[in-house]
Symmetry: C2
Subunit: 158 residues, 2 copies
DNA sequence: CAAAATAATTGTAATATACAATTATTACAT
DNA sequence: ATGTAATAATTGTATATTACAATTATTTTG
């Protein structure tokens, strides 16, 4: 193990930038065409993972069910999400994107993809594969550590 | 440019995991010994960047000055931050960590470093350098794209 | 079939946030 | 030099996001 503290500190600075100054910016900004960030995350999660019950979606997003229930209420009101009772087990609701909801999902999806395509245009083509691979390795390891240490959620958010 | 949409989608999934399931977890959890996440971010930012005025810190954190003013008030109350008037220009206050604030900063700093050291223990030593380099390249490119497209902030947060 | 478990919602409270208005101070233009 | 504009900080106000607790409806289980 020769990962010294200096290198880890540099990495932390990079991750901090990624989180706060950069990817965050995309969230705040254009990507979320008229939706709040919570609504946006919710729509994207349903679009990505497919139809789900409220508890499952809440787990997937790391939110309390009550919090998500209200977010969903808003999305149903503006016509992006459809909430229908599950006939097999009437305790559950099944959440899905409306036609309009899917359009929004695809639009935001497109913005993100275009953003990342732009990022890779700034990187030498010869390194694309390697960068993708290394980010993948890193994220998998981060996740593994988190799972090993038994993290977490929920608990009040900022 | 041969970054196809499929690969970008995979990368987005990795970044999503990094943001929501993993690094976020560290924020929520142990790292922030009794502080709220806002307070924690504030302390870490002062610790990292050094003493600053309120506006500068607000910019650095991407927050409105009024929001930060209240966060600082809380941190002053619990004795982690010192707020003193700048004698050169009395409009400014100079924010710094108290002795106890610095201890908290160092403790959290240590938790983060230990976490990342743990992550790298799960990665083959031969790849450490490469992974560090590639994450650095990627983050720099993300930042460059963001700066080129004139992002952003503030605007309501989630 | 009664009791326990589970899903969803609603009641309530706390926190984080931004925008607007205000106050204090400094810089600047005439 | 003095009045006006700009800037930093704070306070007033409103909204959003969140979690926990209580409640209701439904299903599972002993």
């Amino acid at each position: 193990m020769n990962m010294n503290t200096q290198k880890i500190r540099l990495l932390r600075e990079k991750l901090r930038i990624l989180e706060r100054e950069s990817m965050g910016a995309l969230d705040q900004e254009g990507a979320c065409c008229g939706l709040t960030l919570s609504q946006c995350h919710t729509v994207m999660e349903i679009g990505l993972k497919g139809d789900m019950s409220l508890v499952d979606l809440a787990n997937s997003l790391g939110l309390d069910a009550s919090t998500l229930s209200r977010t969903i209420q808003g999305l149903v009101l503006i016509g992006l999400v459809v909430r229908k009772a599950n006939e097999k087990d009437r305790r559950y609701v099944t959440l899905s994107l409306s036609e309009q909801g899917r359009k929004v999902y695809e639009e935001i999806d497109g913005v993100y993809n275009a953003f990342l395509a732009g990022v890779f245009e700034r990187l030498p083509a010869a390194k694309h594969e390697r960068i993708l691979e290394d980010i993948g390795l890193f994220v998998d390891a981060v996740r593994a550590v988190n799972e090993a240490t038994g993290c977490c959620r929920p608990g009040r958010k900022s």
